[in-house]
Amino acid sequence: MNNTNAYWQANIRLIVKLLLIWFVVPFLGGIVFVDLLNEVRFGGYKLGFWIAQQGSIYLFVVLIFIYARQMNKLDDQFSDEELEELHTDANGRD
């Protein structure tokens, strides 16, 4: 139970971090402060325009893959620990 709890807390922490980036870049960078960022050039793009029509989409892809990688690692870690616990339990009973 404690294990599951730790796993869930880790999941929540990761989600909060990723969703913060998910929110800040497109909504602040691409919409709220877009005029400010448009003062900066990014090649032939205005930076704010690029964030709104290109950059954010690439970012979304990266965020999902980070989440999948981290969580899949965490899954392995916790299911290993569960197995170990079962193992020690069995040994203890011997």
């Binding site: 599951t4 497109p26 793009y45 325009f49 954010s56 989409i57 999902i64 999948a68």
Partner: protein, 570 residues
């Protein structure tokens, strides 16, 4: 070969592929019919999800919406909203519902909120959202047929229906999955090829995403700077900076589309088809990769085609194209009514500008941008034929996904879940086939005689998904104390407030005469338009659910155990 024959051949070949897949991928059990046996490779599912997701609107209309109706930058709401929703889906919904491991979204809501009423509310939301959405696809099929194959709209629609009927009824989710993979390949090829060519012609860069930020071959200025200049010269607003109504409206519009995307059942159930929770997470990433290929190309296509079109009509500032000298593609699309010129000052020239008094391009349909692009870029006929097949693939794949979501909600949630729980698996499989057939017929009928409310499809489908299903699912996973009373009152409040705002603008069920806005100004709520209101509905849902939940009894132990189970490591 003539263009028309070539188009028949290309479209015919793609249909042959779909039918062959249908025969190969027949469903033998309810598990195969609802979730393709739960054995689809995550990358393959990503591709199928991309086709499921990208509709006739994404393929045919979106670039034009960005380039014309939403003034360029304002169109970012679609690009951000329809991709960013996948981050929500991947982190807050898909893995847990895969872990739950059953067949439909209403089934989860019914069990999590231990209530048949909750399940029925979910079924109703699902059917209204999916049905309005599917009518749009049916229209897309009819339009694509009538424009490219010169059949009537009705014949085209019926041919499309027969094809969908065949593989959806026979194969269920299994058949749909493998056809969607084929459809993705066709549609992405058909979308990117013309974009690559137009990018090379204008900038020399074969990657449209980079071409959009490059200099023009013609005069060395940056493409977007040139576009801003050309458009402001003839009185239009600046392409790269003009917001849709206001920043606040764009904020809510984007958020509504994101939340709606994550709450649409036909997308969520695609993640029930992969073997494990881990696969569901990875698969969401792949889905967005495949979607992003089209969604990052679309803004490039929008800007380039807008520049091309404008410069064709007015090659040098102040020097207009003579109507008699207009290119062949211009004539072709005039016949369809998508382009229309009216010589207001009778000088035989085409004046195109932002002033409705003197502008002579009285119709430039949004769809023209994607449909006519290969001709404007002077590409060979096979590319044009491919665009027809791509548009049809986009419409058919989305239609099939929606039809499955609806028919499984009826056969699994309504029939087996509520009316006749003791039905055998064989009986349920037969019933799901029958309901699938009926759903195809109903959708086709509504496509043939679209009721008035089709115009509001986007607002209604995304608004409902955002305001009802998304909060109920997320609270069910992340907020353990959430109970029946909270969830149901939240859903009803969310739907209620969204429908109220949409209907008072556009009429009850979009019958114009029944709009009851009265003395209030349009978009009276902080200047937010109805399409952008789903996020407000979602907030109302969350608030009402949390408040009601505080004053009502806790969920029973077995429900708490269910939540623990879906939260435990995959």
């Amino acid at each position: 070969m003539e263009l028309r024959e070539l188009t028949y051949v290309v479209v015919g070949l793609t249909f042959l592929v779909y039918v062959s897949i249908a025969i190969w991928a027949r469903a033998g059990s309810t598990k195969e019919f609802y979730v393709a046996g739960g054995s689809v490779n995550p990358i393959a599912n990503g591709m199928a999800t991309a086709a499921d997701w990208m509709s006739a609107a994404s393929f045919i209309s979106m670039a034009g919406l960005i380039g014309f109706a939403y003034d360029g930058y304002g169109g970012s709401v679609f690009l951000l909203g329809w991709t960013g929703g996948y981050v929500l889906l991947a982190t807050c919904i898909a893995p847990y519902l895969r872990k739950y491991g059953k067949y439909t979204v209403p089934e989860f809501i019914g069990e999590r909120y231990y209530s048949k009423a909750a399940r029925l509310v979910a079924v109703a939301c699902l059917i209204i959202a999916s049905l309005t959405y599917v009518i749009g696809q049916m229209k897309g099929i009819g339009v694509a047929f009538s424009r490219f194959l010169e059949t009537g709209y009705e014949q085209g629609l019926i041919i499309g229906m027969v094809i969908v009927f065949f593989y959806a009824v026979l194969g269920g989710m299994k058949g749909i999955t493998y056809t969607q993979i084929a459809q993705y390949m066709i549609l992405i090829f058909a979308y990117t090829i013309p974009a690559i060519f137009i990018s090379i012609q204008l900038t020399g860069n074969p990657v449209p995403q980079l071409g959009l930020g490059s200099t023009l071959l013609s005069d060395g200025t940056y493409l977007l700077d040139k576009l801003d200049l050309v458009l402001t010269d003839i009185g239009f607003k600046e392409y790269t900076t003009t917001a849709r109504l206001s920043s606040l409206n764009m904020f809510f519009y984007t958020m509504s589309l994101m939340i709606g995307t994550a709450g649409l059942p036909h997308v969520i159930i695609r993640f029930f088809t992969v073997p494990s929770v881990k696969d569901a997470r990875i698969s969401a990433g792949w889905a967005l990769v495949f979607i992003a290929i089209l969604y990052t190309t679309a803004p490039a296509l929008a800007a380039m085609a807008r520049l091309n079109l404008t410069e064709t009509i007015e090659p040098i500032p102040g020097e207009y194209l003579a109507y008699g000298d207009r290119p062949q593609w211009f004539k072709n699309w005039e016949i369809t009514g998508l382009l229309e010129h009216e010589d207001k000052n009778e000088d035989g020239l085409i004046q195109y500008n932002a002033d409705p008094e003197t502008n002579e391009m009285v119709t430039i349909d949004n769809d023209i941008l994607v449909l006519a692009n290969p001709e404007i870029a002077g590409l060979p006929n096979w590319v044009i034929a491919l665009v027809a097949a791509g548009g049809l693939a986009a419409a058919l794949s989305t239609a099939a996904g929606l039809l499955l979501a609806m028919s499984s909600a009826i056969s699994h949630d309504l029939l087996k879940g509520v009316l006749k729980p003791d039905i055998s698996e064989r009986g349920e499989l037969t019933a799901s086939r029958v309901f699938m057939g009926l759903t195809v017929v109903v959708a086709g009928y509504l496509g043939l005689s679209p009721p008035d409310f089709v115009a509001g499809t986007v607002a209604l489908a995304f608004g409902l998904a955002a305001a009802s299903l998304f909060p109920a699912i997320v609270l069910g996973i992340f907020y353990k104390p959430m109970n029946t009373a909270g969830a149901v009152s939240g859903m009803l409040a969310g739907i209620g407030v969204t429908l109220y705002y949409v209907f008072q603008h556009s009429g009850i069920m979009f019958v114009k005469e029944t709009a009851f806005l009265g003395s209030m100004s349009p978009n009276w709520f902080f200047g937010i338009e109805p399409n952008a209101f789903g996020a407000v509905g979602a907030i109302v849902n969350f608030v009402v659910a949390l408040v009601v939940c505080r004053f009502t009894s806790k969920p029973p132990a077995e429900v708490l155990a269910l939540v623990d189970r879906i939260r435990s490591p995959g």
